[in-house]
Amino acid sequence: MSNEQGVNIQVQDVQQEAPLHFPFPLADHSLELPKEYTELQAKCPVARVKMPYGGEALLLTRHADVTKTANDARRCGNILGSDGDVPRQEVASRTREGSLFTVTPERHNQIRRLVTQAFTVKHANEMRPGVVALTNRLIDEMELKGQPADLYEDYAIKTPMAVICELLGIPYEDEQLFREWGRDLLSRTATREEQQERWEKMVQYITPLIEKERANPSNSVLGMLVKNREQGDDVLTEQEMLSFALGLVAAGFETTSTSFTNSAFVLFQSPDLLEQLKARVDDEDAMASAIEEILRITLLGAGGRPRIVREEVELSGIRVPPGEVLMLSFFAGNKDPEVFPDPNVVNFDRTPNPILSFGRGIHACLGQQLARMEMQVLWTTLLKRLPNVRLAVAPSEVPWRSNDSATIGPAHLPVVW
């Protein structure tokens, strides 16, 4: 529910001060939200920022503004190819025709609903035992190989990768390939040509799998998409089908593996929180509540999610005209004291906990129940099997990701137990 505010607030235009450079830099080996966000949240909720590849955007940091914008797909839409060269976080625009992010809002839910049955709470829970078994196997392998292990490579990435492969009905053996796609899709420095090249390779890869589904339809998500396409309902174009299937591969593993790895990097440095989490491993509800709080505080990226204003909107009493690019900071919204009392206190029993980590509005994360389940299982199995798990090196020695990726955090996470 949105609080329709603004009754007695005077509507103003954006105050044009010297804009800050976006995205704000993080401290070395830190996953703390840069302080600029919370300062702006308090003083300048609609802040003009200079974008890295030219132009300016407006950064939103308050829970209410981020929610209002994400909820209003008509006035604040996704950026389309036809918008041309708008201010952005990447070298080249990543818009692609027919993706969930570029179809009209009406069409969007039509497409999404073709597969939503595979992303329900119930289905996530049906997949849970398989994920518990998988994570236990991965720990077995880590124990066999000996210490130290790389919690990112050996554990965090393999779990969501296996889940998304099973769900889509694509072979896990090709995981290295999917990782490359993921890296490219998240790269902020890939040129339009490089993106196109990768896209063609991805299409080449998936085409025979689609042919196989056509000949012999399965219950996988790929099967659901193909079946729909075959029914001739004219619901899904070939481009939409490809774009959706390929997009899911990348959306399905990077986010979850980064969430887990980044939360582990933070919790391994907070023995008290780790103890609290350990005390919950036999209580699924208590663990679920803790994971929600972990998702609230875990930073995955240093930027924001873009939208473009199509029709004038009012945010925190400020009038924003059409054409402005908005950067929504879901992570800053997660620290808004108006919604989360003592936002910097980690409280595993926080209720209610209306986190923005999975977005809001029609584009809110399709995979969020799977992601929750995977995070719960990853943490539960790890702490049950290796209660003494800890960093093998000083935090400052942990290998870090290059900064051309949209995601931030450790590139490897060496641990002992």
Binding site: M1, R112, F119, T120, V121, K122, R360, G361
Partner: protein, 80 residues
């Protein structure tokens, strides 16, 4: 309090089910919200309210919120 679920807006996120599975479930066919119990026990009022707040796409509207002595939850499949 009367809660109306405009099911056409539902994006099948499942958050209402997490908040209150005694009242909300997701349809097997497409994951959209289905009301299991149109007259839930008053003890569930707080949880129903949480489901409304956690819904990512404002599927629910609340009427007569001040009246906390009655709880009705219904579906409406009209477009909004």
């Amino acid at each position: 309090m009367r809660v109306i679920a405009y099911t056409q807006k539902c994006i099948a996120s499942g958050n209402c089910v997490l908040a209150c599975s005694d009242v909300f479930e997701q349809r097997d066919s497409d994951g959209t919200v289905h009301i299991l119990n149109e007259r839930p026990a008053l003890a569930l009022l707080k949880k129903v309210r949480q489901a409304v707040d956690l819904c990512p796409n404002q599927v629910f509207t609340i009427e007569d919120e001040a009246n906390q002595s009655e709880l009705v939850v219904v579906e409406n499949d009209q477009a909004v």
